[in-house]
């Protein structure tokens, strides 16, 4: 693609990721959570890949890191859900309301679930995007 599209996508990419992380982390006080934030983060990677081509994106961002991150996030998510009842008193206090450090274990659930959705969508996108490479 042109020079304008490539430069604009390179400039927008960290801001889109930052907005996705904001939607995920504030999932217990504002509407949002794992799926909306994960979709926004994956959308940033899709914009970068469309503007630069799959070969250059594979050089810039390693693809094996996505596989490892997905397996680790899945493992931590299963552990968190099965043992949440015992961990609840030790994690976050429940006295303060309407602030960020509240909601006893919801912030960790949202972060780990957001990583799972983000890496799952990226794996699907990279597999289908490599179909047309010469």
């Amino acid at each position: 693609m042109n020079e304008i599209v490539r430069t604009a996508s390179k400039a927008m990419f960290p801001l889109i990721l930052l907005f996705g992380i904001y939607v995920i982390v504030h999932g217990h006080t504002t509407p949002g959570g794992t799926f909306s934030g994960g979709s926004v983060m994956a959308g940033g990677f899709v914009i970068y890949t469309l503007a630069h081509g799959v070969r250059k994106t594979e050089i810039d961002m390693k693809e094996t890191a996505i596989n490892v991150l997905k397996s680790v996030a899945g493992f931590i998510l299963i552990l968190l859900i099965l043992f949440e009842l015992f961990l609840r008193a030790a994690l976050v206090p429940t006295e303060t309301l309407f602030t960020l450090w509240s909601g006893s274990s919801l912030m960790f659930f949202n972060i780990v679930g957001g990583i799972m959705v983000f890496t799952g969508l990226l794996m699907i996108w990279y597999t289908i995007a490599k179909a047309d490479v010469e």
Binding site: H28, G74, T94, L97, S102, N110, G120
Partner: protein
């Protein structure tokens, strides 16, 4: 079937489903729910027990947490399935050997 039969059957489907779905909600038994239902319990006690402002997130992760575990399993399985089929189809060596043996099925249409 020719095109007029297809179009009329399609329009008939749309009209029947539209009338059914609209008139099913005019029944007064659907529209009332009070504090004795399960949604009343989640709204009353959710933010007291868990100190979180978002009622939907407490339902998704605490009161119905096993449903979310199943949903993440489905997402994981679908991504693994796409990777398992796609990595075998799209590697460069397989594309070249398939194009050597059967030339008409390996052409990707140009946009």
């Amino acid at each position: 079937m020719n095109d007029t039969i297809k179009l009329s059957v399609g329009l008939g489907c749309i009209v029947i489903v539209m009338t059914f779905m609209t008139f099913s909600m005019l029944n007064p038994a659907f529209a009332q729910w009070g504090s004795k239902s399960i949604a009343g319990f989640f709204i009353d006690q959710g933010w007291r027990q868990l100190a979180a402002s978002n009622a939907v997130t407490t339902i998704v992760w605490e009161y119905r947490g096993y449903d979310t575990l199943g949903e993440e399993t489905v997402l994981f399985t679908a991504a693994m399935g796409v990777f398992a089929i796609g990595a075998g189809l799209f590697s460069m060596e397989k594309l070249q050997e398939r194009s050597a043996s059967r030339p008409e099925a390996s052409e990707v249409p140009k946009p």
